[in-house]
Amino acid sequence: MATAFAPTKLTATVPLHGSQENRLLLPIRLAPSSSSFLGSTRSLTVNSSRRLNHSNATRRSPVVAVQEVVKEKQSTNNSLLITKEEGLELYEDMILGRSFEDMCAQMYYRGKMFGFVHLYNGQEAVSTGFIKLLTKSDSVVSTYRDHVHALSKGVSARAVMSELFGKVTGCCRGQGGSMHMFSKEHNMLGGFAFIGEGIPVATGAAFSSKYRREVLKQDCEDVTVAFFGDGTCNNGQFYECLNMAALYKLPIIFVVENNLWAIGMSHLRATSDPEIWKKGPAFGMPGVHVDGMDVLKVREVAKEAVTRARRGEGPTLVECETYRFRGHSLADPDELRDAAEKAKYAARDPIAALKKYLIENKLAKEAELKSIEKKIDELVEEAVEFADASPQPGRSQLLENVFADPKGFGIGPDGRYRCEDPKFTEGTAQV
């Protein structure tokens, strides 16, 4: 069927030939009977699939083409990739992401939020594809482009909008802002302003999982998903963490949202070898490339990666080829990108694609989808109203939360701890 999800349509960025395979696929400490993994190093056609299946047993390669699994599934059970409920869930999540970000832009230009605001329009497939597979206790670490990751993880639209408005009811009490979306309840570990600085934190969260399992002997299957961009992949922290994650076999998935642009720097101009997924095998972990504008493909890859991590088989590097429809931030005039490129990716809008898939496969009707859109619009409107009505933080909040134990402000000249000064709670104490 000629849909956007046709198995033979693979984004052509991996023109590799058989001779290069052995060099790239390093033998990893995996049992030969490990299930086929997604993300091949070869460009596959229908014919080559048989060759791959045959050589799988002998080569012990953990990586397989994305389309192979998809094709396999379709050929084996002749059913769709998702059920109706799942489809609607995915659709709703992506619509929420899109509407929310559009509303953010509006509010920014109306002067309700300030500073740096980075919007996620166009990349919803990645967030939805991965995060909707996670449980509440799994952790997500993101960058400054984190609104939609927080929403997908379960943080309420109200809390995120209030945080953007800088109100007390925000998820971080107004103290973090757009680039610091945290939620202990939903295990959203931020929100980081500098690129790359969240990756070690994600590695630590994954380490904590392993520690609980092996040292504290608790039942812990939590995985961590770290999202970051193509620019980050030239940063040292990325490589240091790939090394440690593979070395300690941590339950982590490194998701590269390769939208080809780091503000105004094209990925191709900044990187010696632009194929980021290839860097995974260099460290001893599978590297997968997937079409990030296609939520179902992303979901398939994510399922495999998450299952692998939960089983204790270690990390995975997933490169999602995606695109942001807006500029880097709301302050970016976005003049460098070619209009043709933008048009090309706009035609591959993940929401439109999913809608088409759902309707064509009779999973949902137009009316149902419309009602979801309406519901989300109302939700976002209500979030704005809530944020507008919420109070600004008072002076008393200035000195709170600097230290978990406020004795850290020290002992004043009068012999008392500074935090015992009655003016401390008012936020006017001398510290």
Binding site: F182, E197, N401, V402, F403, I411
Partner: protein
């Protein structure tokens, strides 16, 4: 990273460590009695020859009680004052290890991560034996990636672990500055208080023995502005163990600065469990004349200088500030209020070091109590040279400390020689006052004498004039005076004839004389 100089576990260092003087011996009250003061000297003298100064170990203090903190905390004083057991002797790195091991036993969430902390036992042997006991995951040997493994520790802390992150040398943590500043210090705040980061970042720093510029850094000056972290520096086995335990138990991120040259200090510490308060300073030697604030290795240079100063008649109060961020302004303030003079001795660079901040804090809070400007002795603003002589000149040496104290104390005639007391000073002031009043009286006397002499001169020179003048005044003031009265004074009668006895002549033949007689 380049090779690290290893200190042999049992070898004593060439640095002569000076323990804190037992304050119980110097408890003599600081009143003005000279006899008491000289008694103090005798006590100090005997100490100087036997135990406290100049020995290469602190073993001799075995039977003496340990120094309680200036501001007594329950934990500290309880341990030292109720100690009935003799305690056990160990080196500073062993004390750190003991503290770490006790905390790891106590809480299974405490773990260690760093380079060579596991199988190698730590480059300074602080984690020796821990990997065997607790396993490779609890004492994690990391690859050489400071930024990443510091961040990993922070991420693990957010999810409930309590990592102790070791920097093999504090200087290497410059590579982890991103994680320490942005995440360690700020995440609790930017997450609105949702996530705590109870990490301990520790490692050896400071100027060692010809380790070269990059291995001799003092990172406390770079980290001090980071909000949300605490910094402490240990200097004795006692406070090393206490601070390690307190730092691990704290919910705040704490950076514990150790010093490369202090790892082999020996001391007897209590057998009982104890912790040292993270925010408090330690009174090393109480005194009267000047407050010397210091920390880490410089504490020992100060104590060496103190010996010389005591012999010269000074009584310095030495405080090991221990808490580099925040400062214990209570202990420091009480000392400043007592002595009115402050000298800071630190190993940081002059620019932007802990001493610079401390000077500002003291000036801001205790300006009225100062009799002299706060003086700060710091290392030179140079990369630490390799050559031994040059290296010696970059850090503060005891002789400089002595000179500085003398300079500060000479301001108002305080304590120049042996036996100087406070009463002498006030006596001198009284004498001064007396001299001033004497001068005033003398001038007054001279003025009066001058007036009197002038009067006498005028009286003598202008006597007749004055007399007649006075008579005239009398006459005019006399109401009964009649100018026609002649008989008042015949000798001065102006109307009497000039020839007094001329009789009148009747037989005058000349008939022309017209004498009319009727």
């Amino acid at each position: 990273m380049s090779a690290i100089l290893l200190q042999g576990a049992g070898a004593a260092t060439s640095l002569s460590p000076f323990n804190s003087i037992d304050s119980s011996k110097l408890v003599a009250p600081s009143r003005s009695s000279l006899s008491v003061r000289s008694k103090r000297y005798i006590v100090a003298g005997s100490d100087g020859t036997n135990k406290s100064f100049g020995s290469s170990s602190l073993v001799a203090r075995r039977s003496e009680p340990l120094i309680p903190n200036a501001v007594a905390t329950k934990a500290d004083t309880a341990a030292s004052s109720t100690s009935s057991k003799p305690g056990h002797e160990l080196l500073l790195f062993e004390a750190l290890q003991e503290g770490l091991e006790e905390e790891m036993d106590r809480d299974p969430h405490v773990c260690v991560m760093g380079e060579d902390v596991g199988h190698y036992g730590g480059s300074y042997k602080v984690t020796k034996g821990l990997a065997d006991k607790f396993g490779d995951l609890r004492v994690l040997d990391t690859p050489i990636c400071e930024n990443a493994f510091t961040g990993m520790g922070i991420g693990a802390a957010m999810i409930g672990l309590r990592p102790v992150i070791e920097g093999m040398n504090m200087g290497f943590l410059l590579l982890a500055f991103n994680q320490i500043s942005n995440n360690c210090g700020m995440l609790h705040y930017t997450s609105g208080g949702q996530f705590t980061i109870p990490v301990v970042i520790r490692g050896p720093g400071g100027v060692g023995r010809q380790l070269g510029a990059e291995h001799s850094q003092r990172l406390e000056s770079y980290f001090q502005s980071i909000p949300g972290i605490q910094m402490v520096a240990c200097s004795t086995p006692y406070n090393a163990k206490g601070l390690m335990k307190a730092a691990i138990r704290s919910e705040n991120p704490v950076i514990l600065f150790e010093h490369v040259l202090l790892y082999n200090l020996k001391e007897t510490i209590p057998d009982e469990e104890y912790i040292c308060n993270l925010e408090e300073a330690e009174m090393v030697r109480p005194g009267e004349h000047i407050t010397i604030l210091t920390y880490s290795r410089m504490r020992y240079h100060v104590m060496q200088a103190a010996k010389t100063l005591v012999n010269k008649g000074y009584d310095p109060e030495v405080i090991d500030i221990r808490s580099l961020k925040p400062f214990d302004l209570y202990t420091i303030g009480n000392s400043v209020k007592k002595t009115h003079r402050v000298l800071i001795v630190e190993e940081c660079m002059r620019t932007g070091g802990i001493g610079a901040s401390l000077t500002a804090a003291i000036n801001e809070n205790f300006h009225d109590y100062l009799d002299a400007p706060v003086m700060c002795l710091s290392s030179q603003d140079v990369p630490t040279p390799y050559a031994g002589t040059l290296e010696e000149w970059t850090v503060v040496q005891p002789a400089q400390i002595v000179t500085a104290v003398e300079q500060l104390c000479q301001g108002t005639g305080r304590v120049k020689q042996r036996g100087g007391t406070e009463s002498e000073a006030s006596e001198k002031e009284r004498e001064k006052e007396r001299k001033i009043s004497m001068a005033a009286i003398t001038s007054a006397v001279i003025a009066i004498a001058g007036i009197i002499l002038g009067w006498i001169t005028i009286e003598l020179a202008c006597k007749p004039c004055l007399e007649s003048g006075r008579e005239a005044i009398d006459r005019s003031l006399n109401p009964d005076y009649d100018p026609d009265d002649q008989d008042v004074d015949t000798s001065s009668d102006v109307r009497s004839p000039l020839i007094p006895n001329h009789p009148p002549d009747n037989s005058d033949p000349d008939p022309s004389t017209a004498i009319k007689s009727v």
